[in-house]
């Protein structure tokens, strides 16, 4: 007999942000009640402004990925709040996920 898997629906927000905007992104996460986040390095990419690579001479073009998981109501509000900040640079997307240890989020 298989044990019932605990079902904890949450939303995951992933934000690819230029390094200089990172502090403002994490401040927004905190302000919207995210209990935690992870910052991941990004090596290189291409967007509307052309190619970028990490760390050559300046961090102005380097991007990092910020991942956070939170409840649907807080995630929606955070997503709306990110829109003006990322209007000119950076992208974000949100998806429905299931998590273990739901009390953490």
């Amino acid at each position: 007999m298989t044990a019932t898997r605990p079902h904890h629906p949450r939303r995951k927000i992933e934000i690819l942000t230029p390094m200089p905007l990172l502090n403002r992104v994490t401040a927004l996460l905190k302000a919207h009640g995210a209990s935690g986040h992870t910052v991941l390095p990004a090596l290189a990419g291409q967007g509307a402004a052309g190619r970028w690579e990490r760390g050559h001479a300046t961090d102005a073009e380097s991007c990092v990925m910020v991942v956070s998981v939170l409840g649907a109501d807080r995630a929606d509000a955070l997503f709306d709040a990110l829109a003006p900040l990322l209007a000119d640079a950076g992208v974000a997307w949100m998806s429905d996920v299931e998590v273990l240890r739901g009390e953490k989020y």
């Binding site: 230029p18 390094m19 200089p20 905007l21 502090n23 403002r24 402004a49 052309g50 190619r51 970028w52 690579e53 990490r54 760390g55 050559h56 001479a57 300046t58 961090d59 102005a60 073009e61 900040l85 209007a87 000119d88 640079a89």
Partner: protein, 327 residues
């Protein structure tokens, strides 16, 4: 004329320029030669520490005199004023929108520490004296241009993406600026005695480290130039002419302020150089609408190689002639 040509030859065939050229050639040939990111950042920190400390130690011997204050005043005025010239040129000649023009103008008012370091190294090779207080001028010229750039953008109706407090913190506490100013202060406090203690670390290996750093800069410059879809021919022209204007303004003002030819040459170099470390990050925060690829490609892919190969010997020759000497 012969003197100028032999000077240009001597500079172009120096290890500094040749390592930079090697980097450029390898970059264009798509070689897999790369300097690891962390190593490049470490080399940059070393150069800031070494040039800051040596400048501070020289300042301890020189003292805070009227010439130092005059040099600081000229540098700050230049940094404030150069974007005011660059902005209408970028709008008119390059047909750039106001936000990008303001961002690029700020880069050209601010300075490139590595160009300054390369110039001091070349002057040393040529036996031209310069004073350590010019390092303080370097630090003082980082920021004013950012303020002018933001004012130009704000006047054109651009919204600023960051509060002035947060932006000020980012600019003043930028790692490069902190290390340069901090090392300068430590050098000033400890003087020649302090310099003697660590000279084996910051004096003897300096040129070798600079060669390695310039190799990386060559690789990066070539890559920027190769991927230069963000800039057009008019912008490239701007990247070649603007340093001449900045150098002329810096050199003449330096001579008028009574600076010795070596110091006036460095003032010309500072006027000619464009920032690609501190200002891009500040502009990204304050003017996120501006495309950083435009300003960084111009500063790093066009103006930096121009200054390193042609600009520095040219500025030295012209300033020395204007001062009544022989280059």
């Amino acid at each position: 004329m012969t003197d100028v040509l032999s000077l240009a030859g001597e500079t172009l065939l120096s290890p500094l320029v040749l390592f930079f050229a090697l980097g450029v050639a390898a970059g264009f040939a798509r070689s897999d030669l790369t300097i690891p990111d962390a190593v490049a950042k470490g080399l940059s920190l070393y150069l800031m520490l070494a040039i800051g400390f040596k400048g501070g130690a020289a300042m301890a011997a020189y003292g805070l005199g009227p010439e130092v204050l005059a040099a600081l005043a000229v540098g700050i005025a230049l940094s404030f004023a150069l974007p005011l010239f660059a902005f209408p040129v970028l709008r008119g000649l390059c047909r750039m929108d106001a936000v990008n023009a303001a961002a690029v103008a700020a880069h050209y008012g601010s300075i490139s520490v590595v160009t300054f370091v390369a110039a001091t190294s070349m002057l040393q090779t040529l036996g031209v004296a310069w004073d350590g207080y010019m390092v303080a001028v370097v630090a003082a010229m980082e920021t004013p241009a950012i303020l002018t750039g933001l004012w130009l953008a704000g006047r054109s109706g651009a919204r600023l993406g960051e509060s002035s407090g947060a932006l000020g913190r980012e600019v003043l506490l930028n790692g490069s600026v902190v290390l340069l100013v901090g090392s300068f202060a430590i050098g000033w406090i400890t003087g020649d005695k302090g310099l003697a203690t660590i000279s084996a670390f910051i004096v003897d290996p300096f040129k070798g480290v600079l060669c390695l750093f310039l190799l990386d800069m060559g690789l990066v410059a070539a890559r920027r130039f190769r991927d230069g879809s963000a800039v057009n021919g008019r912008m490239v022209l701007f990247g070649l002419v603007m340093p001449l204007v900045g150098a002329l303004a810096g050199g003449l003002l330096g001579l008028l302020a009574g600076l010795a030819p070596g110091n006036a040459t460095l003032m010309a170099v500072l006027g000619a150089s464009a920032s690609y470390i501190a200002v891009p990050a500040a502009m990204r925060m304050a003017l996120p609408q501006a495309n950083p690829a435009v300003s960084i490609t111009l500063a790093l892919g066009i103006t930096f190689p121009f200054n390193l190969t042609i600009g520095i010997p040219l500025y030295h020759a012209v300033i020395t002639s204007l001062a009544g000497g022989t280059p």
